[in-house]
């Protein structure tokens, strides 16, 4: 096979060598027997040459190449047709491969590490993280080739003092052996090593953006949480963390504090199966039980809920429980698949139109003995060439779009950066898409073009009306699919506007959020923190323009803390299972956030002392626990792990949104705010009639109190980007897909209408000549177009009613998946498109001079 392929590229040389050889043979023979005799004996050299060549030929490949050459010539003669077809396919394939790249990168990218196949994430006792003492105990059991740990959650934030400012950084805190066990490559300097002490490895992004890509950065010290850390290395720009999902920390520092907790990652010995690793880990966990007895209730053991999961792939997604995410991507893939289908239908109907104008050429070829299969193959080669060119253009589009997506900075609580790069998976996928769309777009037209017998095809014209059922069916199909796409797109656009204008239940227009992260090591006693909070609140309240100030542990729509537990009230013996959003708030919180207290009162300074004895709950929780009774004055107690002291409900707050805009009837419970030993993040909240005016002053005030703290101040409206993100991303992606589908379908409709009018030019001329008035002709053309539209709409809307139902999980509860406004809008838009697509060809038909039309042909 390889030898044959080589022949393909050296055909010229081969032919001349064969000639030489034959000449030599003839000369030798001529010397012996005379030239004439030799020639006679040799026989036909042409025939022999053909036979010899055929030994080397790969028949189908050469046929294919010559078909492709033929197709290319045909397209050069008819560039308009080729351009529209390639453009349609490029849009469809560009959208398709881009979503594919995005999905692959987001869900299935491989972390930057050595031999990912022997690397596994581990979880023990159902805990995602364990503290350092337990980690050491497991590590020193030496049951694997290496056991490391990492932590990237909010405990891994750090303050970086640079000049006169302090910045909050996202770090990845890792055990000293992490770089060795995982095998993370660095591009400059060296990885972190055991016994390194306070060192730091920088991300490429941090190094470039914050340190101006300083080439002499190695050996310099960064002041992190008040201590100098020496820079030992810089990561490559395409570094992907073991966490995945585009998470992009600023730097890696050792998880050397005793308070650090880590998630486990292990390097399995070569050839060890995951079952074997699991068994070893369970055994080690039983040992761990003896050293560190688990403290979460009777019967608990570290060996329960042990998980050993690969660091990449489907299984990991399942164990992380993020299937809704995956569902979203699956939906996107379906949507772009539909867009591609519309594009293919466009190409298909273009090919049909072309085939009918080439009917005679094909008929002649059939008549002189070309096999039908051969002609179908040739027509398919045309659509394959179109698909290949379309794929190439689509891939250019893909590279550009991926570049845009890589640069997008989303308002997320954790820094994220996508590193989408074209790779072999994309290449394979796009080849499959190209071949698939060539078949989908080309097969039907090719079969149809060759189906008629020779005699029928040789006839010059074809005038029967209503013969183009295949083209009409294609347009109806396109319209139906684009109705589905448009419905989904509109639904998400409506969702976005709904959620942007939605009242989150608190006053986002007048609140300012000041996020202050303290350096934990700087505060040795709780009193110091409490003093800081008291002073800060005092100074903030005194600022001009500030109406009130408070502090909370959770800022709504930015973070959450969900508890599921059994609660017993003083009105019923029966414990009630509740799932609620917890938070804690200082006095004036509800006033500052503009959340009305419906019954009872706000927290008072006196509530602060003995933390948990006063609580405020929201309406939903009050109804859940106390029914229609007034909740104020009643007490509640947790029943697990042990019966807690009773807490008195002092107030009932109006319902609001807590973590997502999509949540439905959430319960909520607030405790009084009380700084404790673990508090590092302080969320100060300020109410001002003009929030933007006080931002600077708030930051300065807090900065004066603790220069080592990082402070980020922003109006609450700006801080809600994260909450709007799902609806915005959904609207952007699905809205643009809907528009793309609509554009492609309108091209298709327009093409079919102008083609059918062109075919009926003679008939229309005749009608006009016989005295038909223009209105009647217009009606006749419009009837055809609106019949197509009507059928397409009916089918499309029918499908949409069911197809959009699963989308409800992505929508805010105020919007139903069968939103009537959406359906009306879709019908309206398609109606306008159909009018435009009909009017052009119809007017052209009316301008036809009857005489010209009759003389036509």
């Amino acid at each position: 096979m390889l030898r044959k392929l080589r022949y393909l590229f050296q055909r010229k040389r081969f032919n001349s060598e064969l000639d030489d050889e034959i000449r030599f043979h003839l000369e030798m023979a001529a010397e012996e027997r005379g030239e004439a005799q030799a020639r006679r004996e040799f026989g036909s050299t042409v025939r022999m040459r053909e036979d010899t060549r055929s030994a080397w030929q790969i028949r189908w490949l050469e046929d294919l190449l010559s078909d492709l050459r033929y197709a290319a010539r045909a397209f050069r003669r008819n560039p308009g047709f080729a351009a529209v077809a390639i453009f349609s396919l490029a849009l469809g394939i560009g959208a398709n491969t881009t979503i594919f790249s995005l999905t692959m990168e987001f869900l299935f990218s491989q972390p930057s590490c050595r031999n990912p196949e022997t690397l596994v994430d581990m979880r023990i006792g159902g805990n995602s993280d364990i503290d350092r003492a337990k980690y050491r105990c497991l590590r020193d059991a030496h049951i694997f080739d290496g056991l490391a740990g990492s932590n990237e959650e909010h405990k891994a934030e750090a303050n970086w003092r640079f000049g006169n400012d302090t910045y909050r950084l996202q770090t990845m805190r890792v055990t000293e052996n992490f770089f060795q066990v995982v095998g993370v490559p660095v591009v400059m300097g060296r990885p972190m090593e055991p016994r390194d002490g306070d060192v730091v490895v920088l991300s490429d992004r941090f190094w470039r953006a914050r340190l101006a890509a300083d080439p002499k950065v190695l050996g310099k010290a960064l002041i992190i949480d008040g201590r100098p850390f020496t820079v030992v290395g810089v990561l490559p720009h395409n570094h992907r963390t073991v966490l995945g999902f585009g998470f992009s920390p600023d730097l890696y520092i050792p998880a050397s504090r005793e308070s650090d907790i880590v998630a486990l990652i292990a390097r399995l010995p070569h050839g060890m199966s995951r079952q074997a690793a699991y068994a070893r880990l369970v055994a080690a966990c039983k040992q761990l039980d003896k050293v560190y007895p688990p403290d979460w209730g009777p019967g608990a053991s570290w060996s329960n809920n042990v998980e050993v999961v690969p660091v990449a792939g489907v299984e990991r997604l399942r164990s992380l429980n993020i299937l809704p995410f995956a569902a979203f991507f699956a939906m996107l893939m379906v949507v772009v698949g539909l867009v591609l289908l519309i594009a293919c239908a466009n190409v298909s109907s273009l090919l049909l139109a072309r085939a009918s104008s080439r009917r005679q050429e094909l008929a002649i070829r059939l008549a002189i003995g070309a096999g039908r299969g051969r002609i179908v193959r040739q027509l398919l080669a045309e659509s394959l060439l179109l698909a290949l060119l379309g794929t190439f253009a689509g891939l250019l589009l893909n590279v550009w779009l991926s570049g845009v997506m890589n640069r997008v900075q989303l308002p997320l609580p954790l820094p994220m950066q996508l590193l989408i790069q074209p790779d072999w998976r994309l290449l394979l996928y796009s080849m499959a898409v190209a071949v698939g769309s060539a078949l989908v777009a080309g097969l039907m037209p090719a079969l149809k073009a060759t189906r008629r017998g020779v005699s029928a095809a040789l006839k010059l014209t074809e005038r029967q009306v209503g013969q183009f059922t295949l083209r009409n069916a294609l347009v109806v199909g396109q319209l139906a699919v684009s109705v589905v796409l448009l419905t989904a797109g509109f639904l998400f656009l409506r969702n976005m506007t709904k959620s942007m204008t939605m009242n989150p239940g608190f006053d986002a227009e007048h609140a300012v959020w000041a996020f202050t992260r303290l350096v934990p090591e700087k505060y040795t006693t709780v009193e110091q923190k409490q003093n800081l909070v008291r002073n800060a609140l005092g100074e903030l309240r005194a600022l001009p323009g500030v109406e009130s100030a408070s502090i909370a542990c959770i800022v709504p729509l930015n973070d959450n803390w969900v508890t599921m537990t059994d609660v017993r009230t003083d009105v019923s013996e029966q414990p009630i299972r509740v799932r609620f959003h917890g938070s804690c708030a200082a006095p004036d919180y509800f006033r500052t956030m503009g959340i009305p207290i419906l019954q009872g009162r706000e927290f008072l300074p006196s509530d602060r002392k003995d933390a948990a004895d006063a609580v405020i709950i929201n309406e939903n929780m009050a109804r859940e626990l106390f029914g229609n009774r007034s909740a104020v004055g009643h007490t509640i107690r947790y029943t697990r792990p042990a019966l807690s002291a009773p807490m008195t409900v002092v107030g009932v707050a109006k319902n609001s949104k807590y973590f997502t805009l999509g949540e439905e009837n959430p319960l909520a419970l607030y405790n009084p705010f009380n700084a404790d030993a673990w508090t590092t993040n302080l969320h100060f909240l300020v109410r001002a009639s003009r929030p933007r005016d006080v931002v600077k002053e708030v930051a300065r005030t807090l900065g004066r109190l603790d220069a080592s703290a990082s402070i980020e101040v922003k109006p609450m409206r700006d801080a809600m980007g994260f909450a709007f993100l799902p609806s915005r991303v959904g609207a952007a992606l699905l809205g643009s897909m809907g528009l793309l589908g609509l554009a492609l379908a309108s091209i298709g409709l327009y093409g079919v209408m102008s083609y059918s009018v062109a075919r009926r030019t003679r008939e229309i001329g005749l009608r006009v000549a016989l005295g038909a008035d223009r209105g009647a002709v217009l009606r006749m053309v419009a009837r055809e177009s609106f019949a197509l539209l009507g059928i397409g709409l009916a089918i499309g809307l029918g499908i949409s009613v069911f197809a959009t139902r699963p989308l409800a999980m992505f929508l805010v509860p105020e919007l139903s998946a069968n939103d009537p406004v959406t359906f009306l809008a879709v019908v309206g838009v398609l109606f306008v498109v159909a009018c435009v697509a009909t009017l052009g060809p119809a007017l052209r038909a009316l301008r036809v001079d009857p005489m010209t039309a009759l003389r036509y042909e």
Binding site: E21, F24, H25, D51, W56
Partner: protein, 109 residues
């Protein structure tokens, strides 16, 4: 021209392999050698020799190299590859078996 007996199908490969087993030869010499060693009983048509040689090149049994012939002309010399040698063993065994079988039938029937 005297009539030559028809070659058994597939035996052309065998003959070429056998002749090349002794050393590289060019196309004309191969034809010559077959004719000579069969005492002129077998004559290979050039029209089938070269296609056969090329098919054998494709199969990897032979390699071809340009060299200089005995009368100082540029000629293409064919030689056996290890694979070709294996094929020769295989085919000659098959051939012997076939001949034996045919003779058996001829004698008993």
């Amino acid at each position: 021209m005297q009539p030559t007996p028809e070659l058994l199908p597939g035996t052309l490969y065998l003959l070429i392999l056998k002749i090349l087993a002794r050393g590289p030869l060019h196309g004309y010499a191969i034809a010559r050698r077959i004719k000579d060693s069969s005492e002129e009983a077998l004559e290979i048509e050039e029209g089938s020799l070269y296609p056969a040689l090329n098919r054998m090149l494709v199969k990897g049994w032979l390699t071809a190299e340009w060299g200089v012939s005995e009368n100082n002309r540029k000629a293409r010399f064919y030689s056996l590859t290890p694979e070709g040698r294996k094929q020769l063993d295989h085919e000659s065994q098959q051939f012997d078996k076939l001949i034996e079988a045919i003779q058996l039938v001829m004698r008993t029937a």
